[in-house]
């Protein structure tokens, strides 16, 4: 691994290629900076958490979210069309009998609009190779010990199809506001490597 510093060889190569492309009219000055600003203002796990909290307090929304993710997230102003093509969103609900976990074995497909950029471990060969073969052991490494009776289903994302986990609502949260509930939801919970 290399290239974690601005002075690294790859940083200089990137600057060189940008300059070359500007020279050839394939990049506008400031275009890169504008896109970086847009990236920083893009999706975060708070988006996914807001969807989960709404599904916890509104059973009709929960049903719509599970039936047609793309249509339901539009109700909260979200879209899977941020990239060049709209990606299909499937939302799977955890329950006492079944726990869902998401991976992209081929690379790093991920619902960025709802979760922001994926964590490094999600993109690692270790996670991609192992979670489909030994999900229970992998979840244990993340500190999630599921009862032996809970079935684990692993979903492999692709360029066209993205997945989001709807965690189980924690006990003793009656009376909490939607906003408070959203605060309980973590990025790992939305991927399936944590309970919530």
């Amino acid at each position: 691994m290399s290239g974690n510093h601005a002075s690294s060889p790859v940083a200089a190569q990137v600057r060189h290629v940008e300059a070359l492309l500007e020279e050839r009219g394939l990049l506008d000055p400031h275009e890169i900076d504008e896109r970086i600003d847009a990236l920083a203002a893009g999706g975060t796990p708070a988006n996914g958490a807001a969807l989960v909290a709404r599904a916890w307090v509104d059973p009709a929304f929960r049903e719509r979210l599970l039936a047609d993710g793309n249509a339901a997230i539009a109700e909260l102003g979200f879209s899977m069309g941020g990239a060049l093509q709209e990606q299909k969103l499937t939302v799977m609900a955890n329950d006492a009998d079944e726990h869902h976990v998401v991976v992209c074995t081929l690379c790093s497909c991920y619902p960025i609009a709802l979760l922001g950029p994926s964590p490094g471990w999600y993109k690692s060969e270790a996670y991609r190779s192992r979670v489909v073969r030994e999900p229970r052991a992998v979840l244990r490494e993340f500190g999630l010990e599921l009862p032996a009776s809970t079935r684990i289903t692993v979903w492999d994302a692709s360029a066209e199809s993205r997945y989001l986990v709807l965690p189980r609502r924690p006990e003793d949260t009656e009376g909490r506001s939607e906003e408070e509930l959203a605060g309980l939801v973590t990025r790992k919970g939305l991927i399936g490597t944590a309970a919530v």
């Binding site: 691994m1 290399s2 290239g3 974690n4 510093h5 601005a6 690294s8 790859v10 940083a11 200089a12 190569q13 990137v14 600057r15 060189h16 290629v17 940008e18 070359l20 492309l21 050839r24 394939l26 990049l27 275009e31 890169i32 900076d33 896109r35 970086i36 990236l39 920083a40 990239a83 060049l84 093509q85 991976v103 074995t105 081929l106 690379c107 790093s108 922001g116 950029p117 964590p119 490094g120 471990w121 993109k123 690692s124 060969e125 270790a126 996670y127 991609r128 190779s129 192992r130 489909v132 073969r133 992998v138 490494e141 993340f142 492999d156 360029a159």
Partner: protein, 94 residues
Amino acid sequence: MSRINDVGGMVGFPPIVEEPDEPRFHADWEAHVVALNGALLRRGVYNLDEFRDAIERIPPGEYLAASYYEKWFRAITTLLAEKGVARPEELAGD
């Protein structure tokens, strides 16, 4: 035929390492690579399937040794050369 990126189910990889408080990018150049790729896709210099393919055909040894955004940058320069935008030696700054 599967390529090196197709690691699902492959044995031999180590435990998963989580980075606490992981930043969105570890260096400015990584954000530049993402922005650059977006700009070139939008201009139609190449499409998303070509980009993915360019990552997937990185030779296995290099694929496994490279960081995530190093793979992206390598795919971008491969495609810029193949599309005739610039010669490899120009891209390398030689």
